[in-house]
C-alpha cells in the first residue's frame, strides 16, 4: 500500500495531469453556494472544507437518465458510446463505500449491468477523509468511518503540510505511480497526523443502534411503529433520490415518429405506483408498507442477500427529509 504526501500547491498540478487523461470533477461552490463536485477547472477555487455534497456521486455511475437502447426504423440499437475516463476527487468515504454496495447488484450480479460496469471501470475515485462530521452522520455505526478507504481507489487526508494520499487498490497504486513526480515521501509524522485527523472525526460520531438488525427487524415486521411513521411520511422521493445506495429504477420508452429510446430513470419505493400491478392490485398499498420496505431493504433484506446493510450512514435522508423523519430514531424505536 503506497502512501505519499502531496503539497497543496501540487494538488492543482495533479488534477491538471489527470485532466490530460479525462474529465476531472472536484469540489467547489456551485451557483447555489453549495459545495458540489463540478467539472474542474472551474471559476470557483477548489475547496477541501465541506461536510458532504448535497447529492451523492451515484449519478456518475447510475445517471438519472440512462439511454439503454435507441430505436431507429424499428430496430433497437445499443448506444455503444465510448465512455471517457473520469476522475472524481473529494468523494467522502461513506459515498465511496456506497459504490461497493451498489457494485454487488450491478457489477457482481448475474448478469452484470453493462452500463454501470462501463462507467464504473472508467471512473477513478479519489476519496477525501472527513475532518469534521455533521450531526446527521453515523458511518461508524454501519461499518464505515471518516477515514475508511474501502470504496476508494485513493484516499486523501488533508493536513496542514499537504495531503496524504493512500492507494486503496491496484487502480490507486497505478494512479499514484503515474504522478510520482508530484509526490513526496510520507514521513512518520505525516502518517501520525493523518491518523489523528481521522480519529478526531471518529470521536465526534455518536453510535446508532444497528447491531443484529436482521433479527430485530424480522421480529418488528408487524410493529405498530411502521404505521406511526407511515402516517407522517409524505411519500416523496427525497430520501432515496439522495441516498448513495438507493438504486431502484424505472424503464420507459420515449418515442416520436420512428425515432426513440428506451430510458432508465431513477425510481423510488416510496411512490405508490412503484409496485402497482396492471390489475390495480398493489402489494404495498399505503405509506406504511412503503416506508417499511425502505428500512427493511437497507437493514434486513440487503443483509440477508449480501451480508451487509445497504446504508453507509451519510445522513442525507435525515438532513433532507421535508418533515424531519430520522432513520436513526426509527431504528432505535424498532429496536433494530
Amino acid at each position: 500500500m503506497t502512501e505519499k504526501l502531496i503539497s497543496h500547491t501540487n494538488l492543482d498540478r495533479l488534477l491538471a495531469r489527470l485532466g490530460e487523461r479525462g474529465r476531472v470533477y472536484a469540489p467547489a461552490r456551485d451557483e447555489a453556494g453549495e459545495v458540489a463536485l463540478g467539472e474542474w477547472p472551474q471559476n470557483e477555487p477548489l475547496t477541501l472544507e465541506y461536510g458532504n455534497f448535497r447529492q451523492s456521486p451515484k449519478a456518475f455511475f447510475l445517471p438519472q437518465n440512462q439511454t439503454l437502447l435507441y430505436l431507429q426504423e424499428g430496430q433497437w440499437q445499443e448506444p455503444g458510446l465510448p465512455v471517457r475516463e473520469t476522475f472524481l476527487f473529494g468523494v467522502r468515504p461513506c459515498d465511496a463505500r456506497a459504490l461497493l454496495l451498489v457494485d454487488k447488484v450491478f457489477l457482481d450480479g448475474d448478469p452484470n449491468d453493462p452500463y454501470y460496469t462501463r462507467l464504473r471501470e472508467k471512473t477513478t475515485v479519489i476519496g477525501l477523509a472527513c475532518a469534521q462530521t455533521m450531526p446527521s452522520c453515523f458511518c461508524t455505526s454501519v461499518g464505515g468511518g471518516p477515514g475508511d478507504a474501502a470504496g476508494v481507489d485513493v484516499l486523501a487526508v488533508a493536513l496542514e503540510t499537504g495531503l496524504l494520499l493512500r492507494a486503496g487498490n491496484a487502480k490507486g497504486e497505478d494512479l499514484l505511480s503515474s504522478v510520482a513526480g508530484l509526490l513526496a515521501e510520507a514521513t512518520p509524522a505525516v502518517l501520525q497526523a493523518a491518523e489523528e485527523r481521522i480519529r478526531d472525526a471518529e470521536d465526534q460520531l455518536a453510535p446508532v443502534l444497528t447491531a443484529d438488525s436482521v433479527r430485530r427487524l424480522r421480529e418488528a415486521y408487524d410493529s405498530p411503529l411502521w404505521e406511526t411513521a407511515g402516517q407522517k411520511c409524505l411519500g416523496c422521493g427525497t430520501c432515496s433520490f439522495l441516498c448513495p445506495t438507493c438504486y431502484c429504477f424505472d424503464i420507459t420508452d420515449e418515442i416520436r415518429g420512428s425515432v426513440g429510446r428506451r430510458v432508465r430513470t431513477w425510481d423510488c419505493c416510496a411512490y405508490a405506483p412503484f409496485t402497482l400491478h396492471g390489475s390495480g392490485h398493489n402489494p404495498r398499498p399505503t405509506p406504511k408498507e412503503r416506508w417499511r420496505q425502505r428500512v427493511m431493504h437497507k437493514f434486513r433484506y440487503a443483509v440477508e442477500s449480501f451480508a451487509v446493510s445497504f446504508c453507509v450512514g451519510c445522513g442525507r435522508c435525515i438532513r433532507n427529509c421535508p418533515i424531519s423523519m430520522d432513520l436513526r430514531t426509527a431504528l432505535k424505536e424498532l429496536g433494530a
Partner: protein, 148 residues
Amino acid sequence: MQSEARPEKGWEPRILAFLCNWCSYAGADLAGVSRIQYPPNLRIIRVPCSGRINPFFLLRGLQNGADGVLVSGCHPGDCHYISGNLAARRKFALVQELLKYAGIEPERVQFTWVSASEGGRFAAIVEKVVEQIQKLGPNKKLVKSYER
C-alpha cells in the same frame, strides 16, 4: 435575442390548432368551402369545446415540435355548452402570462373566437398567427429532442 433571430432557411412554422366542434371548426370548414386562401401551416385537432383544452395540451404540442399553438372557440355567449368558453377564457388568460414570465414568447400560444359563419375571420387570424410565429422563428425552448 433569439426571438428576433432571423428565421432559419427553408423553415416553415408548424402550428397546432385546437378548434371547437361547434363554431371554429365549422368556421375553418367554411373558409375552405368558400375558397378563402390562408397559410397551410395549421395541423387541426377538433375538440368538443374550447373548455376541453387543458393548458397541458398546448405545452405538449410545443414539446412535440409545434412552433405555435392556436386555440379557437365560440364567441363568448355563443358556446354550445353555454359557458365552456368562458371557463376556458380564465385559464387561457393565465397561460400566456405564465409563459411570458417563464421567458417563453407568449405569441407561441394564441387564443381566439371564431363562429361558424366567420370563414374570413378564421383565415385572417391564421394569417396573423403564422406571420407572428414566422417572426419568432422555430420553437427551441420547450421542444424535446429524440435524436441520438
